[in-house]
Amino acid sequence: MLEVTGVTTKYGAISALRDAGLSVGAGEVVGLIGPNGAGKTTLLGSIAGLLRPDMGTVTFDGNDITNVAPEKILRAGLALVPEHRRIFTDMTVEENLKIGGVTVKASERAALLEEMADLFPVLKKKWDVPAGYMSGGEAQQLAIARALMSKPKLLMMDEPSLGLAPILVDLVFDLIEQLRDQGRTILVVEQNATRMLQAADRAYVLRSGEVVASGTGAELLARTDLFDTFVAG
């Protein structure tokens, strides 16, 4: 479904990502783990069109989406829950969700709103509240629900558990598992490597901008040489 090949992305003269590659198949939950500054967010940004890779290609469903504008990539079926959530704080929960569904037909949008209200009871309770008044855990759920409103074929999440209390981290991982059981395809960047490896079908390990290992969760958990990667988070 998603193929990333040889992607190098630079900030000025510094390569944040070197020759990175990964693939995600339909129905898979794939983790992307690694210490701070390893280039995980850069990789997601390069896929979602926020950053322009200097080299390499990104294809989605067989179409080249390298250097395509973010709104076009979303329309192709690839949604990103960005780092720090970036919900629209002065808009209500309902308005945030509507914007998430800006690309779908009005009738379908209404049905999706109901679906999200069922899937996220917390959001239903705060439907008309400005999103800026929500707690971190609620805001994270809103960010995920907002991305789901576009009916993505592939959902990407950047550090969904970052800054959340342990009980809410559990909630986020429960949610990832719930979405996986619905058959959704998900690519998640996480610092919480152990939890991620338990929840993912497969994972890639990034370090200093390069993919240094990949495999199933169990395979990677057994790799003692990657131990520093797992405790870094």
């Binding site: 979602a48 926020l50 504008a69 973010p70 709104e71 979303l74 329309r75 949604a79 990103l80 960005p82 720090h84 970036r86 919900i87 629209f88 704080t89 002065d90 808009m91 308005e95 509507k98 914007i99 998430g100 800006v102 690309t103 009005a106 800026g132 971190g136 907002r146 991305a147 576009s150 800054g163």
Partner: protein, 295 residues
């Protein structure tokens, strides 16, 4: 007391026009951080078309739609020719670009039309008044206030209830995040300029009716009022822009009424002193946009 009420209505009449101008400035600023010093051209250009139209036998009934269409068209055209090239540039670069647009438009009218004042006939009822108890209210003021209220209600509906309005607000809040949701950056920016132009067009109708003339630099005064009102209200806040416009209109009229005879010509200077005082105590303006900490 009667005099005060009279002044307040007069001030609200003026302030309504300023509010529409400021709202147009704020809509564009919100979405691309451009403080548009060429906003007044959206009155100058329709102004010259109005002058041309009256010389060709048009009347106010047909000129009003002409002003609205040409204001929206000019706004979109200026965006296409100038501002689309500096999208995402530093705020200062965009500010200078807008100055450039202002000077080029003025120069074009100076070169190809005339430096002299071109008059536009005022509508016959412009100076008529109605008596309300002991008050004598200009029909013009009542009309301006009424039309402004309707325009603001319609704009509120647009921003709250339509997908275009939601997209505009989302893009103003976090442009990149809005694009990640699929909001098309081109259409939302063009939409903002169209809305800004429409609001300037409504303001322009009344501005031209009251001024009764147009010159190559006619845009400076409405631009200053709009930008100042947006600053007073708190740049980036749409509600603030409206409040800022009304406050500026009231301040002008009340100062002119209260200042001792002899220094009434210094009204504008005193308005700036008040604005300076405001910024000392509330640097962000009356309804400053709170900077949300992103964690």
């Amino acid at each position: 007391m009667t005099q005060l009420l009279q002044n307040i209505i007069d001030g609200l009449g003026r302030g309504s026009i300023y509010a529409l101008l400021a709202l147009g400035v704020a809509v564009v600023f919100g979405i691309m951080h451009l403080l548009n010093f060429a906003h007044g051209e959206l009155i100058t250009i329709p102004g010259y078309l109005t002058y041309w139209a009256f010389n060709h036998g048009w009347n106010w009934w047909t000129v009003v739609p002409l002003i609205l269409v040409s204001a929206v068209g000019s706004s979109l055209l200026i965006e296409r020719i100038a501002f689309s090239r500096v999208r995402g540039a530093k705020d200062f670069t965009m500010l200078l670009t807008s100055f450039g647009v202002h000077f080029i438009v003025s120069a074009l009218f100076l070169l190809y039309v005339s430096a002299s004042v071109k008059s536009i006939q005022r509508p016959g009822w412009a100076a008529d008044t109605v008596a309300l108890g002991s008050l004598r209210i200009e029909i013009f003021d009542l009309l301006v206030i009424g039309v402004t209220i309707v325009t603001l209600l319609a704009t509120t509906w647009l921003l709250q209830r339509t997908m275009f309005g939601l997209s505009l607000r989302a893009a103003a809040s976090d442009f990149e995040a809005a694009r990640l949701m699929g909001v098309n950056s081109d259409s939302v920016i063009r939409g903002a300029f169209a809305l800004s132009g429409f609001l300037a067009g409504i303001a322009g109708i009344f501005w031209l009716m009251r001024a009764g003339s147009v010159t190559p630099t006619a845009g400076i005064d409405p631009m200053l009022k709009g930008v100042l009102a947006a600053l007073i209200g708190g740049l980036g806040s749409l509600r603030g822009a409206v409040v800022g416009g009304l406050v500026l209109g009231l301040a002008e009229v009340l100062l002119r009424a209260w200042l001792p005879e002899g220094i009434q010509n210094l009204t504008t200077g005193f308005v700036f002193v008040l604005i300076a005082l405001l910024f000392i105590f509330k640097p962000g303006g009356l309804l400053a946009v709170p900077q949300v900490e992103r964690v």
